[in-house]
């Protein structure tokens, strides 16, 4: 029975490890949406990688019923959110689909950077925030402290916040009752033309793209002709329904206020972009929902199979991943050093790592990845303007009139104690200070303009380590700006290795060059002859290290005919060789390519 007043759409937002997934599990368990027997694993996060890294990469949603104390049966839609800066836009779309959010605070740790960043985003979306104090079973829990922080820092009342132990299933009902009472029911005119928000989608090999939507106005039924308002694509709906913990439940129609899915024989997720508005093609709504942004890859990197013969496998894997991730692009490229591979575009560095890890884990591929790059805009002396996302295509210095690089506006929230070191970091990354304001006595928000190329390597890690994990980062691209850029080439035994070239600001090229050659020296094993490792700009060497020739590698004694030991040793050595790439005359292990990406980890 459709009753918009009985619908509650909400998300759970929390700092990593504050218990988001565990609470979600308990809610489902308490309402019998899943049996505890099926609950061996947390189900909302269903990718291995997410569980391991404690992050949620793709949003998922679950519908379940709750019989409240007032006797009514309520439809709950719990929408999960991804938790990283690269996916900020996806998070904001997921939150837009809700009326309320559970803000989990760990009673032993209090408010953390991510709690705050998420809470602000929820407030921006006008969500009703329900604080939930978790982990009250722990001896070090300080419920009063957690409540005080919520009131002082976020500024929302926390007096009657449910205090739970998600781990032990304590006071879960309080949370459910609170959702019924405090989360507003959705407003929406069922008779108006269809207006629904896409907040996620995935590719199913039988049904085509399954699109996750929140209906704001009107309704969507099997047989309807629908239109994506931004992409303009039109389809006929073949299936709609709601989402349960393990499967989908078919329904003929979804009405205003509801969360569910539809399928319409859509061949590619290119047509179903997150944030787009779905309307009825025959009776369209006049205005799309606000806030749509096209997902634009900002970070590019070359991905090559470690074993050149696996090129076809890599291509298949990339195509499969692309089916479920429209923000990720790839096209073939060739490197003199690495052979055939692909230039891939990502939303950010985490997105890149996620894709690489999935390729290695789910598709069992060994990869070599080149240093990430942004897109540079070059005005050449001949007047042409070109865009370069691969350093090896960077023109000679004398051909360039003006080189421009993308700039972001970054917002960093940090406890006041770390303001100094965060500013130092931004300074070091060529940041332009805009302003700083204190959110309260403990927390400051800083705004900087930073070149994107300075934050794609390891900025996030550096920020975390300088703030003991408390600082959070958000950024948006604001445009291009001319800059003093140079291309740094790396030479092994005198030969340029194209896959190791990268673009760097002229003022930083010496430092960077030195560190790279040092790193390479440490990661290239000794070989039969001495190997110079050099960094050069336009043919001029600016840094050099030497990998000495191998001195001793011999098993002098084979005792009493024990040949098996020696054989095993040599077999292992032989296997090690297989993981090496021969660049000219030099053998380079995969780790060396990785090491170059992580220059600031010491």
């Amino acid at each position: 029975m459709y009753d918009i007043k009985k619908i509650r759409n909400f998300s759970i937002i929390a700092h990593i490890d504050h218990g988001k997934s565990t609470l979600a599990d308990r809610l489902l368990e308490y309402t019998n949406a899943v049996s505890s027997r099926d609950m061996a694993e947390q189900m909302l996060d269903n990718m291995d990688l997410e569980r391991e890294r404690g992050i949620t990469i793709k949003a998922r949603a679950v519908r379940f019923e709750y019989k409240a104390e007032d006797g009514g049966i309520y439809d709950f839609n719990l929408i999960d959110t991804p938790g990283h800066v690269d996916f900020g836009y996806e998070v904001s779309r997921s939150l837009t689909a809700c009326e309320g959010a559970l803000l989990i605070v760990d009673a032993t740790q209090g408010i953390q950077a991510q709690t705050l960043a998420n809470a602000y985003m929820a407030l921006e979306n006008d969500l009703e925030i329900i604080p939930v104090i978790n982990k009250i079973d722990l001896a070090s829990a300080d419920i009063e402290m957690a409540k005080r922080e919520i009131e002082d820092i976020i500024g929302i009342p926390a007096d009657d916040a449910p205090c739970v132990s998600a781990k032990h299933g304590l006071n879960i009902k309080d949370v459910l009752e609170k959702v019924v009472r405090d989360v507003p029911y959705p407003k929406g005119d069922v008779s108006a033309p269809l207006k629904a928000l896409i907040f996620d989608s995935y590719y199913d090999s039988y049904k085509g793209v399954i699109v996750y939507i929140r209906v704001f106005e009107g309704s969507i039924s099997v047989g309807d002709n629908i239109k994506m308002m931004h992409t303009g694509a039109e389809f006929e709906v073949v299936e709609t329904g709601t989402l349960s913990a393990f499967s989908t439940v078919q329904r003929k129609t979804l009405y205003a206020g509801e969360v569910g899915y539809f399928a319409a024989s859509i061949k590619s997720i290119v047509h179903t972009e997150v944030g787009d508005t779905v309307t009825n093609a025959d009776r369209p709504t006049d205005k799309a929902l606000p806030g749509f942004k096209k997902a634009v890859p900002m970070v590019f990197s070359g991905i090559y199979p470690a074993d050149g013969a696996k090129y076809g496998d890599l291509k298949d894997a990339l195509e499969k991943l692309r089916l479920n991730d429209a923000s990720f692009l790839f096209e073939p490229e060739t490197s003199i050093a690495l052979g055939f591979g692909f230039r891939c575009g990502f939303l950010g560095l985490l997105h890149m790592e996620v894709v690489e890890e999935r390729l290695e884990r789910e598709f069992n591929l060994d990869l070599i990845t080149t240093a990430p790059s942004v897109i540079y805009e070059l005005t050449l002396k001949n007047g042409n303007v070109i865009r370069i996302d691969n350093p090896s295509n960077y023109p000679q210095p004398d051909a360039i009139e003006v080189a421009s690089e993308p700039i972001v506006k970054a917002s960093i929230i940090t406890p006041s104690g770390y303001v100094g070191s965060v500013m130092e970091l931004c300074q070091d990354r060529r940041g332009l200070f805009l302003d700083m304001k204190y959110i309260d006595s403990d927390r400051a928000e800083l705004h900087y303009e930073l070149p994107l190329n300075e934050i794609i390597y390891d900025f996030f890690d550096a920020l975390k380590s300088r703030s003991k994990g408390y600082a959070s980062l958000d950024y948006e691209i604001i445009g291009y700006r001319p800059s003093k850029l140079v291309k740094l080439d790396i030479l092994l035994n005198g030969d340029v290795v194209d896959a190791l070239s990268f673009i760097v600001h002229a003022d930083k090229c010496n430092t960077r060059a030195r560190r790279i050659v040092e790193k390479l020296k440490d990661h290239i094993p000794r070989q039969m002859f001495e190997i110079p490792v050099q960094a050069a700009i336009g043919g001029k060497i600016i840094a050099r290290e030497t990998v000495k020739a191998m001195r001793k590698d011999v098993l002098a004694k084979c005792y009493g005919g024990d040949i098996t030991r020696k054989k095993k040793l040599l077999e292992k050595q032989k296997e090690g060789k297989k993981r090496m790439r021969t660049l000219g005359t030099v053998e380079v292990p995969q780790e060396a390519f990785m090491a170059v990406l992580k220059l600031d980890d010491e």
Partner: protein, 370 residues
């Protein structure tokens, strides 16, 4: 009647010694009581009796441990069993490993008379301080005395071991050791660089050992190659130098991919195309010898080497000696960079490693195996 043209070698492992040296990682038991030694001797004899072959025996090697620690009478009993069980080639090389203080002149004479014709006596160093650091329980004077006894007993084919790159060793120290051995006219000298193996006393104090740095070790190596050559020794194997005709036939047999049978705990065998080994535990070995022919778990279940494995072994073992391996076009192409960098040479269609190549033979072999 089938006449076998195959000749095999025999290795007898005696895993007993007086005291473990500080660098030793081999299976050997110090301080064993006489009862166990007798049981071990009985077990060995049973294993030898149980093994049947129509191959003639090309060489026999008693290694350890320190074999005389078993008792010379027991060694002779084992040797007698071998002589009566197998047909020894006329020129069979029969080696016994000894330590300077483990045998008397009388015992050496007995061994010589029984048929032993080669003695290998570890020297390691001619410097008493270095000997003490290594945990050897004799002085150089005692070594020289023992070596005179070996000669007096009638042994001519004599070998010794030297270790270099010792803690705090200088190049002068190494030269002194080499010259001492050369002056005693020892025709076969093996020289190893010290390697710190896991589980040894040296391993646990490796950080305080003051080992020569890699440049010094390198210089020591080329210096010793030079000295040995000047004194008429050929560098015929990675770690071994000999005067003409005094190469270790037993070891060359290993590198020639020859077959051999190992008796005793932890002994390795290569027989009928299979490689296998006895369990490295004296107690279990004694118990097993009671019930069966020859550690059947290993012997019967091991696969016969495939052609690919055999080819790999020929490269791996063949490149250990100056006899090298036969080349073909493929091998010539793949060894080009070693030859260009002075690590190997091809002469009369044979690829062999140079002094420089021996030093990094693992890398070269691993690459040729790929």
């Amino acid at each position: 009647m089938v006449i076998s043209l195959k000749t095999i070698s025999i290795y007898v492992h005696i895993p007993f010694c007086r005291k473990k040296c500080n660098y030793c990682s081999f299976y050997s038991l110090p301080d064993c009581d006489d009862g166990i030694k007798q049981q071990y001797t009985d077990a060995l004899i049973r294993q030898i009796k149980a093994f049947e072959t129509d191959s003639s025996i090309k060489s026999i090697y008693f290694g350890g441990g320190t074999p005389p620690v078993l008792g010379v009478k027991r060694l002779l009993a084992i040797f007698e069993e071998i002589k009566s069980s197998f047909s020894l080639a006329e020129d069979c090389e029969i080696t016994l490993e000894v330590n300077p203080r483990s045998v008397t002149l009388d015992e050496l004479i007995m061994l010589r008379e029984a048929g032993f014709n080669r003695i290998s006596m570890g020297m390691q160093s001619a410097d008493d301080n270095e000997l003490a650091v290594l945990g050897r329980t004799y002085t150089n004077a005692q070594y020289e005395y023992a070596m005179r006894s070996v000669s007096a007993a009638g042994f001519v084919n004599i070998s010794t071991d030297i270790i270099f790159a010792l803690p705090e060793q200088t190049k002068e120290g190494l030269v002194k050791t080499l010259i001492t051995a050369i002056n005693m006219n020892i025709p076969h000298i093996s020289v190893y660089s010290l390697s710190i193996e896991g589980g040894t006393p040296f391993y646990y104090k490796r950080d305080s050992l003051c080992l020569p740095d890699e440049d010094t070790e390198d210089e020591m190596y080329y210096l010793l190659c030079d000295i040995m050559q000047k004194h008429g020794y050929m560098h015929y194997e990675i770690s071994s130098f000999s005067r003409e005709g005094y190469e270790s036939r037993h070891n060359l047999h290993y590198w020639d991919c020859g077959e051999y049978i190992g008796f005793g705990a932890a002994a390795h065998s290569f027989y009928n195309g299979k490689r296998f080994s006895n369990i490295a535990d004296v107690g279990t070995y004694i118990a097993l010898a009671d019930e069966c022919f020859y550690s059947p778990t290993d012997f019967n279940t091991q696969p016969v080497l495939s052609d690919i494995e055999k080819a790999g072994e020929r490269i791996m073992l063949g490149l250990r000696t100056s006899k090298g391996i036969k080349t073909d076009d493929e091998l010539i192409r793949r060894s080009e960079k070693f030859i260009n960098n002075g690590y190997a040479v091809i002469r009369d269609g044979i690829l062999s490693l140079t002094d420089k190549g021996y030093r990094i033979s693992n890398s070269i072999i691993a690459e040729l195996l790929v």
